[in-house]
Symmetry: C2
Subunit: 279 residues, 2 copies
Amino acid sequence: MTIENLSSNKSFGGWHKQYRHRSEVLNCDMRFAIYLPPQAAGGEQVPVLYWLSGLTCTDENFMQKAGAQQVAAELGIAIVAPDTSPRGDAVADVEGYDLGQGAGFYVNATQDPWSRHYHMYDYVLEELPALVEALFPVSDKRAISGHSMGGHGALVLALRNPERFQSVSAFSPIANPVNCPWGQKAFTAYLGENGADWAEYDASLLMRHTTGKLPALVDQGEADNFLAEQLKPEALAAAAAASDYPLQLRRHEGYDHSYYFIASFIGEHLRFHAEHLGL
Amino acid sequence: MTIENLSSNKSFGGWHKQYRHRSEVLNCDMRFAIYLPPQAAGGEQVPVLYWLSGLTCTDENFMQKAGAQQVAAELGIAIVAPDTSPRGDAVADVEGYDLGQGAGFYVNATQDPWSRHYHMYDYVLEELPALVEALFPVSDKRAISGHSMGGHGALVLALRNPERFQSVSAFSPIANPVNCPWGQKAFTAYLGENGADWAEYDASLLMRHTTGKLPALVDQGEADNFLAEQLKPEALAAAAAASDYPLQLRRHEGYDHSYYFIASFIGEHLRFHAEHLGL
C-alpha cells in the first residue's frame, strides 16, 4: 500500500491533509482529504464522518467551502472527503459534467467502458474506510453525509449497509434517481437497462423495504434550482412514511443548491451525527 | 449609476450577493460581493467590515472559504469584498500573479501603463463605500481587514485614514512592502522610483508617525511559507513599539498562509471589530 501526503494545513487546532493512493477497487490513483480534529493528536480514536460531494466536485470543495471544521474540532469528529469518481487519462470519460469523471454516482458500474474503473460504491464502502482506519487514529464508528449526487450516495450506502454506519444525513440529495434526468442518464450508462439493478441505487426505493433503520437527517432548500426536476425529496418522504423510517426531512425557505446552504446547516448535521456516534 | 445583481445566495439567514457596477475611479466595470446579515432585513442599519483579499483573488475567495458569515450573522455585521484590481481586456496586465490584474496592491498608480486604471486605494476608500452606503441598509461605521496583499491594504488605508474606520485587522499582511520582493516589484511598476511615494503605502513606515490610532489586530501563522521573505511582521511590531501604537500582533504555531488559517481565526476578528463598532 503506497500513500503520499500531498498537503497539510493546520485548521482549528487540527489538521486538513490531502493524500494520493493507489486504489485497487477503482484501478487508478485517487486523492482524498481528511480533517483530523485536535483530539486525534492526543492519541484518542475519533469517529469519522464520510462526506460525499456532488457533480463536478473533488475532495476540495467541501473542505474549503463548508465551514465544517470548527464544529468538527469542537466535537472531535474526523471528516473524510473522497473524490467523486475515478480519475486519470486511462479512465473513461465523456463531454459534459453529469457523466464520467466527476460524476461517479457512487455505483459499481457493470457496463463497458465504465466497468473497468467506476466502482465508487465499493470504494467508499470498503476500500477507503479500511485505508483510513489503518492509517489514522480513528475508531470504527462511522457516519455518512453528502450533497446532491453525494447525498444520493450517502443515503444509498447507509440504507444498504446499516451495520456500517451510526447515522446518515444529506443536503439536497438526488433522492429518487430512477425518476430524474441525472439519474436516468447515469444509471443507463453505468448499469444498463435492467430496472432491478437501478433499484439497488435509489434511496426512495430502498427506504420502502430496508430492515436496518438508521437515524437520518435530510435538509433541502426551497429555492434550489434542481428541486423539482432532479431532487424529488417528496419521494423520499413518501418512502419514509410507508416504512416508518426515522427520517427527519427539513425544508428551508430561500436556500439554494450552493455551499452557502451547506455551510449554514453543516454544524447541525455534525451535532446530529455526534449524538449517534456516542460523543 | 448602474449596478447589476449577479447572484444571490441565502446564507445563515442573511444574503450573499454579487454585483457588477461601473467604477469611475478605476475606469472599468467591477464586481464586488456583500454579505448582509439577517439584521439588515429588519430595516436596521448594520456596520460594514471591508475585506481586502490577497494576490490572485477576486471577491469570491473570502466569501466562499473564510467561514465568516456565521459570526457576521450572529453579530449583525455586513461584509463587503471588492475585487483585488481593475479588470477587463482594456486594463493593463502582464504575465505572472504578482503584478497587474489580481494584484492591484491597493495603491493609486502614477506610472504608465498602470495609472489609467489602477487606483484601488481611492476605490476602496471612497467610491465603493459611497456606493454601498447609498444602496444597502448599512451605517457609516466601518472596519477593515484583509489577507496578505489585502492585509497590507487594510493597514495602509486605516493608518492614513483613521477617521474613516473604527478598527483594523489583518491576516499575514505584507507588513513592510518597501523591503520585500512582492512590494518592491509592485511599487516600482505602479509608483516609480521615488521612495517618498513608496512610504505612503508601507504600514510599518506609516505606523511610526501616524497620529490617529485605531485598535489593530494582526494574526500571523508561524508555518507561513512567505513569512520571512515577504511578510515581515517584525517590522510592524517594531513600528508599533516605537510609536506606542495599540497593535495586538499574535503569532500562531503551525498555521500557514491558506484560508484554513483565516477560517480558524476570522470569528475572533469579527468579535474584535464588533466591540469597536459599538455592537
